[in-house]
Point group: C2
């Protein structure tokens, strides 16, 4: 059984990140800490309606704001 078939990612999942502030379209956000397979933190948002997965830039101010808003449980 390969590592991949075990669902273990062996590389970074994000190639490029979304630059537009799409906070209001986000259904959920996945935070993947840096690990042995990817030296950058990765943030992957799943969009409402389409279910599309979009990578976000952990350094972008609007991304940080969206995450703080989710954590503080404020409605949009």
């Amino acid at each position: 059984m390969s590592m991949r078939s075990l669902g273990i990612e062996l590389h970074c999942r994000c190639i490029q990140t979304e630059s537009k502030p799409i906070g209001r379209h986000i259904e959920k956000v996945e935070l993947i800490p840096a690990n042995s397979h990817c030296e950058e933190t990765e943030i992957i948002a799943t969009l409402k309606k389409t279910g599309e997965e979009v990578c976000l830039d952990p350094e972008a101010p609007w991304v940080k704001r969206v995450i703080q808003r989710i954590l503080s449980n404020r409605r949009r």
Copy 2:
């Protein structure tokens, strides 16, 4: 086709949250903003090794610290 079979959750996913600080065992964290089916933000961590999913308390200081650490891309 039911809402559930479309992968849409119709209720909160978390019943109870982990009280022990398990930050170092976290492989990834899912943030689910409050929505029409669940009025609380939910934070679900997937653990390394076991892949077990554990709900975290968004209000717990150690949970906030773990998320800030992931966002700032600091190694554990």
